[in-house]
Amino acid sequence: MREKLSQKVLNLKSSGIRAFFDMANEIPDVISLGVGEPDFDTPWHIREAGIQALQSGKTFYTSNAGLQELRAAISSYTKRKTGLTYNPENQIIVTVGGSEAIDLALRALLNAGDEVIYLEPGFVSYYPCIKLADGVPVPIRLIEENRFRLKPEQLEAAVTPKSKVLILSYPNNPTGAVMEKEDLEALLPVIQKHDLIVISDEIYGELTYGVKHCSIAGLPGMEQRTIIINGFSKSFAMTGWRLGYALGNHEIIEQMVKIHQFAVMCAPTISQYAAIEAMEQGDGDIEAMRESYDQRRKFLYHELQRLGLPCFEPQGAFYMFPNIREFGLSSGEFALKLLKEEKVAVVPGDSFGECGEGFVRISYAASLQNLKEAVNRIFRFLSRYRT
């Protein structure tokens, strides 16, 4: 059968997280700090809006770009949160998760051979989506010393005449890094000089601690050349609803809608109705969840310091990315041994790109009780491997 399959697809490795997941899933009583999603249930009033939609028979397709009412709600939410104005008619598309929005944006923009600069460590989908859209992935390897922020020199060094798109992803999965306004401003001259389009994955934009999220689209001259990727999964604890959206220049969005129309027709209708409730009545939920993540973030950061595990202090998302090089194990070995010996699941850093080697991702979207127990187990583990 292999010879019948697409060479492009065959050449893709499946996500490293997958392999590790299969293993982790077979061991009972694991404390999982390996999860990339909130530990909250979707707030009840949002679920109720979904139930209501189902009960009143909202079981049909919506328009391709998404319910008009939802696009209007996304527009006012975005205006309220970032000050940016997007026209619900042609600058917003509702997608099947932020994941689909990333795929659509790349497919709408790329011709064969176009280079896409993206950041590592970073979300696992960028590289394969670039490949599937016939683009050439050009990773920039971020370093801990810069708190995993992108520096203009690094960007300049990655640019070639074929560079077309830059994918930014802040607040970042897996590092928890953020880019503040000044950091983003420093990139503008390079972006403008080389006429790059920016895909800005801001899916964790509501989850920052002690700093306010800044969207690059709001900086001078950037609105027209930025596509914002966002979604409901992280900020509203709605991963299973599979709903996200993209905002940007209407000519790009139009092409994204075209692909979306032929690939999936429209995002799930019931989810879209629930999402209207989230956009309009969800601010309080976000606030409460952010507060709770922040408490656990402070707790885990303190505990990692106590264990002497070097880690820069993350200011976004719900991840920590400690450096485990001192133990002389690869990330994969470290995570596997920790899983087998102490039944704690964390994700090997190299799942997020080669330069994640030497780190592991720990999610603090877990109960305080589990975090405490996991810290005890990690402590035991580290003591054994420390010489």
Binding site: N25, V35, D39, N173, Q295, K298, V347, S351
Partner: protein, 164 residues
């Protein structure tokens, strides 16, 4: 202490009074001394009025009875309701007491060992308070939720163990 931090501290304790001062200090990003001082102050000011454990007694024994009693009283002026509340409060059988708007005045939650014990208490003690005009007693059958906490065990984590 900033009001937002104070409210966070109170929420944390309200959800879990077993948190140590050390843990609270870490999670709020303030010093342990500050937490100690603040809690002491809040206790003194009777903002923090006690530390309780939420117990589903039905799982231990099922011979506890609770009733909600509505009291209608003669209209009170000035300090009247307050004085009356103090009178009702004094009985250890009374576990919760609210002054209400609407069709009746006080809502009293009463705890006892048997239906009879509660009935006797209501007729003998509450109904015989001079200002009380009438009482209506409702016995609870099942408790599902108290103070925001469901008595049913939370279902297991539905998430997959590792995801991107």
């Amino acid at each position: 202490m900033e009001q937002v931090i104070r409210e966070q501290l109170l929420h944390m304790l309200e959800n879990n009074s077993k948190l140590t001062e050390h843990e609270i200090a870490i999670m709020l990003g303030i010093s342990e001394e500050e937490v100690q001082r603040e809690i002491a102050g809040l206790e003194k000011a009777h903002v923090i009025c006690g530390y309780h454990t939420l117990i589903d007694w039905n799982k231990v024994n099922d011979d506890d009875v609770t009733a909600l009693v509505e009291l209608r009283v003669t209209p009170q002026g000035g300090e009247g309701y307050q004085k009356l509340a103090e009178k009702i409060n004094a009985y250890p059988q009374v576990v919760t007491l609210y002054l209400m708007s609407g069709a009746y005045d006080f809502l009293v939650m009463v705890k006892g060992k048997t239906l009879k014990e509660i009935s006797l208490f209501v007729s003998g003690k509450l109904a015989s308070i001079e200002e009380v005009q009438s009482t209506t007693t409702h016995f609870t059958l099942t408790k599902y939720k108290e103070l925001g906490v469901s008595f049913e065990a939370k279902q297991a984590d539905e998430r997959m163990v590792v995801t991107p």
